[in-house]
Symmetry: C2
Subunit: 321 residues, 2 copies
């Protein structure tokens, strides 16, 4: 059922611009590996050829497209939100954890209980309508800055990965995000920053309600089940949201291993790219000992499955635009 002769399949519009894009910020070795894979799977005379409609590329976000240290940016959004709003919320003022955070004392994060972090994220998300949440994220993104770089968060994305996204799209891949981050959070900036529209952004999500308020149909975030898009849930989310097995996966942690194994078992020739954060100077160096982005078994599996491990210090010629 792969042909669709009588109907138009929606495709990328830029197949004539293949030569425009190159992986300028990549070192020779990983660049050659990526280009040689793309060349073979897009060559219709090759036995490795993948038809356009099956060129599904998925990327983790935190630690893969942008930094996740000392904690994920969405958590920083939650921290800043609590700080900005605690004066208006009497019930937060009786919560010692939220109170300390509102004072900018993030030391409590290190020994935070799961419930505390849940309460924190819940406080900055739940009860908001679709448009209120979008506006809150937009406002934060336009004003907040990262402490280490004193730059806005949406400017701190990895140049080599932006090039890779572009390069794949120019070769008629559909690019998706499959991240543990909140879908609604990422969708606010993914179109502008990564060129990935909201319907290609898959993330964690919670229950919502649909109701009429003053005659207007409103969707609101409500307390309820949360789908955590991490580890085994990533291939489950890919099945649920994409309905096709990816042929390319980019990731950087054990949380991405399951979707890489899922892709690697495809009938097609696939490529998985695993970023190893090794650059303490320009970014961060971490793998086994970190709260965000733990990577241990995925590095082992990478050898067995021949995944491309990218040593960021050596292989990324530049980090940020």
């Amino acid at each position: 059922m792969k042909d669709a002769k009588e109907v138009t399949i929606e495709e990328d519009s830029n197949s004539d611009k293949v030569s425009d894009i190159s992986l300028l910020s990549w070192a020779e070795d990983p660049k050659n590996r990526i280009e040689s894979w793309v060349n073979t799977v897009t060559d219709s005379s090759s036995s490795n050829f993948i038809p356009v409609e099956d060129r599904i590329a998925v990327f983790d976000n935190d630690g893969t497209l942008w930094p996740e240290q000392p904690w994920p940016n969405q958590l920083q959004f939650a921290l800043d939100y609590v700080k900005a709003k605690i004066n208006e919320r009497p019930n937060w003022q009786t919560d010692p954890f939220l109170t300390q955070i509102s004072k900018g004392d993030y030391s409590v994060l290190e020994k935070a209980r799961k419930e505390d972090v849940y309460n924190l994220v819940y406080a900055s998300h739940a009860g908001m309508t679709e448009s209120e949440f979008k506006e809150a994220v937009m406002k934060w993104m336009d004003t907040a800055t990262n402490k280490k770089y004193t730059r806005k968060f949406n400017e701190l994305v990895y140049s080599p990965m932006l090039e890779l996204l572009e390069y794949l799209r120019q070769n008629q891949f559909k690019t998706f995000i499959v991240s543990g981050g909140g879908a609604d959070f990422m969708r606010v900036f993914a179109e502008e920053v990564y060129g990935i529209p909201p319907y290609q952004v898959i993330g964690s999500y919670g229950d919502t309600s649909f109701e009429f308020v003053d005659g207007n149909p409103i969707i609101s975030k409500i307390e309820g089940d949360i789908f955590y898009d991490d580890k085994e849930a990533k291939p489950i989310a890919i099945h649920r949201f994409i309905g096709k097995r990816p042929v390319f996966v980019g990731g950087n942690s054990d949380g991405d291993q399951a979707m890489m194994e899922y892709a690697s078992a495809s009938n097609y020739n696939t490529l998985c790219v695993l970023l190893h954060h090794t650059d303490e100077e320009r970014e961060y160096a971490y793998d086994k000992k970190t709260l965000s982005g733990h990577m241990e078994t995925a590095l082992e599996m990478a050898k067995e499955k021949n995944w491309l491990v990218v040593d960021m210090k050596k292989d990324f010629l530049s980090i940020f635009p």
Copy 2:
């Protein structure tokens, strides 16, 4: 955040072919209404202009893109599956409802309890792996025929709606299905039949598991929660899967009303098209008194909201290709 100057947004590739497609199977009045709306929202000098990235069009499936009488095609798939497999399933043979169905006695459907129908659909879906289910649907689609027309189900889709899907895509709309039918069921044929890839097919879905069987990563349908994509769940699914409010909705029942109201409250100029099944001869005539596709309040709301009600007998010059 609507501009994306520095990155390539994935778009449809066929903006140069706008004149190729016309709504040949539509009567003058609805055709003029649709064309005039598309002309104004795609005219960059118009105050009604909708940027390409926000041209989201969603369609119900059963009763909107193909028939749903005497019952939805997916239910026919389930009936045929039980009939074909009951000899291999001792536990089905002790179920009086499944036994009667396996003999081709569908009279029991009329007074079936909800649990019976659930058991029936469950029997033909749950426990199957991703690829087993896909193969079962493909095999059925290639062999089963509709009793009234003695044609295969994937040939019995509404010509005017196929033209409309094409016409919208030529005008750089993204076309999605948002249906009460099973996502996995529709995804098997939607790309070939409608030109809609799996990641733009949203439907009901159940829980799945991810596990390794003989070293292979396998996704299987399991018993658990089911998301029924109908009524208020449709705008909730649109938020969850698309993340943008549609500007065009096609539907045919009260189950589509909530997503039409959601779209109608957009800041953009929108169009909702409601099919009214009025053609007993060429297809079926039904609205208030039917098990599948009940339409009553949506017809009332259509007047208030100025939705385009399509009288299929009068407005569809042909029904099937």
